[in-house]
């Protein structure tokens, strides 16, 4: 609760700083503010409770994922200085909208009432429509925002309609009360309720980019400014999958069998569709888009497994996925900027011109593939262990097949950088950028070899 207030105040202050034309103060203020918010968020760990008639529920789940969201945003902001260094105008609007999007994301992890879920989703989405189109001069950015807005607002209707149908049958929007409504009717739920349930699944699946609601992702990712794509791929995905997890774990303990088959099919199709389409990409950014789709499928496994370990697995998975993805996008920014495009061919020989960047991107790719001892491996291990422990061995075997396919495209940039000769120019980023990517790389390794710090919290 305090986190949401704190972040909202921060967003407003950023706008004021913009009016006062304190451009150089912006980023230091945001980064410091994020750290303070993180501290405030973590302090809520021991003071859990519900606010405003259970509109918002602060529990361990919400605190932990709020922390993940804030840290991800912090890491993305740490590259903002590099990304926007040639932009002359003040950027307070973009930064403030990012913070407001984060507020929406935090609300999605802590809702206790379906209205709050919808508000969170909309706060996040409307901010994102603006962000996707924030590079006004570029036609691709305009295309991205239009596509995202048309599809997104359409699917928001689904979500709202689903919520209305659930309200119609359960006469409440409060998660706890809805759970009380279904408990005695587990075997004969009214059709209206089921329709509402599946519409809500569809609405959230769009945000997470789950098959068959994933088609927007590659195009929108491609056109959105890279820094904000990183935001979409990590913060938005984490928030939406947590929202889905919260929805099911709080509500539907009794009727596991109703939604499980649906989600199973969706998860498997997401993993396979993401990975198989990823094979045919020739550019890093689109490839990362498909990689993010397939990772949504893996995260779904944790939701489906539906055990006490699920939240843990999801926490570890989102952390390691976010770290690796932000790192990959950070290097993608540099490649796009210096080489003009992000095709794998234009990354040829990067190991020679930019050994540090090549190494960091390799670690990110290996982590996303799931090679030990990196964070991505531990995440997959904990996730698979959770899934197999709950009898999902067949799904895990399919997920593993997806992993093997994904190795093929994750190694494309690595092969280009290390094994092919190229004549690209040397990229020369500033010192702070190098420190940032190195810190992220070290974090990826450390999370992998010291996983016990991040497990067992939930």
């Amino acid at each position: 609760m305090a986190t949401i207030i704190c972040l909202s105040v921060m967003g407003v202050l950023i706008l004021f700083l913009g009016i006062l034309k304190k451009r150089t103060l912006l980023l230091p203020f945001i980064l410091a503010g994020m750290l303070i918010t993180l501290a405030i968020a973590l302090m809520e760990w021991n003071s859990t409770g519900a606010y405003y008639h259970e509109m918002l529920v602060v529990d361990h789940l919400s605190v932990a994922f709020t922390a993940v969201l804030i840290v991800s945003t912090f890491l993305i902001f740490s590259f903002a200085g590099h990304y926007y260094r040639q932009v002359r105008r003040s950027l307070d609007d973009i930064y403030a909208i990012m913070i407001f999007a984060l507020v929406g994301a935090v609300m999605m992890t802590a809702y206790g009432n379906l209205i709050m879920l919808f508000l969170g989703v909309e706060t996040l989405s409307i901010a994102l429509y603006v962000l996707a189109g924030s590079h006004k001069e570029a036609i691709t950015s305009n295309e991205a925002t239009l596509k995202y807005f048309l599809l997104g607002s359409f699917i928001s209707g689904f979500l709202l309609f689903g919520i209305a149908l659930i309200y119609g049958s359960a006469h409440s929007l409060n998660l706890r009360e809805i759970a009380l409504f279904i408990a005695p009717r587990a075997n004969h739920l009214p059709p209206m309720f089921l329709a509402g349930l599946f519409l809500i699944i569809a609405g959230l699946a769009f945000k997470i980019a789950i098959f068959p609601f994933h088609f927007w992702a590659p195009d929108v990712y491609e056109g959105t400014p890279t820094l904000l794509t990183a935001f979409m791929a990590t913060v938005v995905k984490t928030a939406s999958i947590v929202a889905l997890y919260r929805f099911f774990s709080h509500l539907f303990t009794g009727i596991h069998g109703v939604w499980e088959p649906t989600l199973m099919v969706l998860a498997i199709l997401t993993i396979l569709a993401g990975n198989l389409t990823g094979l045919y990409q020739s550019g890093l950014k689109r490839m990362l888009a498909y990689s993010s789709i397939s990772h949504s499928g893996y995260m779904m496994l944790a939701v489906i497994a539906f055990s006490s370990q699920s939240a843990n697995a999801l926490l570890f998975y989102t952390i390691s996925y976010s770290l690796a993805t932000i790192l990959a996008f950070a290097i993608l920014m540099l490649v796009r900027e210096t080489r003009g495009n992000d095709l794998f061919d234009s990354m040829n020989g990067m190991a020679k011109t930019n050994p540090l960047e090549a190494f960091c991107l390799t670690i990110a790719m290996l982590s996303l593939t799931g090679i030990p001892p990196l964070a991505g491996f531990m995440a997959k291990f904990i996730l698979f262990a959770t899934a197999i422990g709950n009898g999902l061995t067949g799904m895990v075997i399919l997920a593993v097949a997806g992993s093997v396919i994904s190795a093929v495209y994750y190694f494309k940039p690595v092969n280009a950088m290390y094994l092919k000769k190229g004549d690209g120019v040397r990229m020369d980023p500033e010192f702070s950028y190098k420190v940032h990517i190195l810190v992220l790389t070290v974090l990826l390794v450390l999370t992998g070899i010291l996983p016990f710090f991040l497990t067992g919290w939930l």
């Binding site: 291990f381 197999i388 094994l419």
Partner: protein
């Protein structure tokens, strides 16, 4: 503490090497690191055989929530393979000194990283840690082969990578599945996994997963298609690491995990696996005869040799398993020796095509003598190391089934055919224009090969020492099946 030290030391040196620039310093440091590692391993051997036969166990809870602990130790089988690894790595590093590899810091750093992963695989006593090192070994191997390899290296090494990655992930699924079948609290330690309770159907699936994971790595027919290409395209030291040590991971995995866990399923599916292995022996031997490239010929001979080891392991006879362990050591020594000789010839003459060579013995008598000794070891002549292993393996197979043993026995004859024919066509006969320029071994090169020669005769003449180290542990593993 000795066992974790054996793993950490190469890692530290490898990180150090990555930071250095001077080629000469890097080489010397890499060699020094490998030798220190070897001395440590000898120290462990003395401790083990001298007074305690204890496990040298190190145990540290790592990821308790998932029952994983950093458990390292060595029993006889591990110890022999660690000795093999730590002996071969300095030899391989020394043999690479003639050739100047670009980016030496990365090259030698990766070799040491690989050594770390290999030692880790052989000393892990926890299923997940075993898996982590198993997978970790793949990364340096991939980069060594793909960066410094020959023609078409990217496609070939990538095929190798994907193939083995698929196999290992199957193993991961099987391990996690077993984990939930162990008694509470669930644990990944080998001891706990051995006692996992499985239904016959589950046992068959687990057996299949482990069989595939290890069969791809070894490789066993028909999963061998990556192997000849990869061995041929890799740089010399890369091939030696793959053929000499890495494929032993597969056989080791079978002995350590598949045999104790397979249970009754082994009795029903074992014969099928033996048939696959024996088919591979005959198939690879026949192909080897027709090879023109020396490296490719040795690659196919390797498929034949490991096929015999695999067949021996599945007979579940103590004697055959004993043979397989000894043969792992002998095969590692012999095949690295052969690849070193081929590397020396190629560096001097720029070719390893058999038809381009001939009459090398007149120009390089020492090279021919060393080549002959290693070759005889490899075709299992009595008094050499190869004989001990193959004899025990065939004896075990014979007790198991006479027909299978007779077919497998053909490899000894076929092995002699292709190996000796290669020797005849390259070393004997008349010299041609190209081979006129051949020079004999230098002092360093002799020093590189001498440890291998000593071991060929040591194991051949006094195998008891090596056999006794592993015997109780092999008996223990076989007792787990029943």
């Amino acid at each position: 503490m000795l066992t974790p030290l054996l793993i950490i030391l190469p890692l530290l040196f490898s990180l150090l090497l990555f930071a250095l620039k001077k080629e000469k310093l890097i080489r010397q440091l890499a060699l020094a690191a490998a030798l220190i590692e070897f001395v440590l391993a000898v120290f462990a051997l003395i401790q083990y055989t001298g007074y305690c036969r204890c496990l040298l166990l190190f145990d540290f809870p790592w990821l308790q929530i998932q029952g994983v602990s950093l458990k390292f130790g060595m029993d006889g089988i591990s110890l022999l393979l660690v000795m093999l690894t730590t002996l071969l790595v300095p030899v391989i590093i020394l043999s690479s000194f003639r050739h100047s590899y670009g980016k030496p810091s990365a090259f030698y750093g990766l070799i040491l990283l690989m050594e770390m992963a290999l030692v880790g695989v052989f000393t892990s006593f926890d299923g997940l840690i075993f898996y982590i090192f198993w997978e970790l070994a793949l990364i340096p191997a991939y980069f060594i082969c793909a960066v410094w390899g020959g023609n078409d290296r990217i496609r070939i090494t990538f095929k190798f990578f994907i193939y083995t990655f698929l196999g290992s992930l199957l193993m991961l699924v099987a391990l996690i599945y077993l984990f939930y079948r162990t008694s509470l609290p669930h644990s990944f330690s080998f001891q706990a996994l051995y006692t996992a309770v499985l239904t016959p159907a589950e046992q068959a699936w687990i057996l299949l997963a482990f069989f595939l994971a290890f069969a791809i790595k070894i490789p066993i027919f028909p999963f061998h298609t990556w192997q000849p290409d990869t061995y041929t395209a890799s740089p010399g030291p890369g091939t030696m690491l793959l053929a000499g040590i890495m494929l032993k991971m597969g056989i080791y995995g079978w002995i350590r995990l598949l045999i104790p866990l397979g249970g009754n399923a082994l009795h029903s599916y074992g014969p099928f696996m033996i048939i696959l292995a024996v088919t591979g022996i005959v198939y690879a031997s026949l192909i080897a005869i027709r090879q023109e490239d020396m490296k490719r010929l040795v690659a196919y001979s390797s498929i034949a040799h490991v096929g015999l080891m695999a067949a021996g392991v599945f007979t579940l006879q103590t004697i055959a398993m004993e043979g397989a362990v000894i043969q792992m050591i002998s095969h590692g020594i012999n095949i690295v020796g052969l690849f070193i000789i081929i590397e020396y010839i190629q560096e001097r003459l720029g070719t390893r095509k058999i038809s381009d060579l001939g009459g090398l013995a007149t120009k390089a008598p020492w090279l021919a003598i060393f080549f002959m000794i290693i070759l005889l070891g490899s075709i299992a002549l009595p008094l050499t190391n190869g004989f001990i292993g193959e004899f025990l393996l065939l004896l075990g197979l014979f007790e198991y089934n006479v027909v299978v043993a007779s077919i497998a026995g053909v490899t000894v004859i076929l092995g002699a055919v292709y190996m000796l024919w290669m020797f005849q066509r390259t070393m004997l006969g008349k010299t041609n224009e190209r081979t006129e320029q051949m020079t004999d071994l230098t002092g360093t090169e002799m020093i590189t090969l001498i440890p291998l020669i000593i071991l060929i005769f040591w194991i051949g003449l006094f195998p008891g020492f090596f056999l006794n180290i592993a015997l109780p542990d092999i008996e223990h593993i076989i007792s787990l099946v029943k």
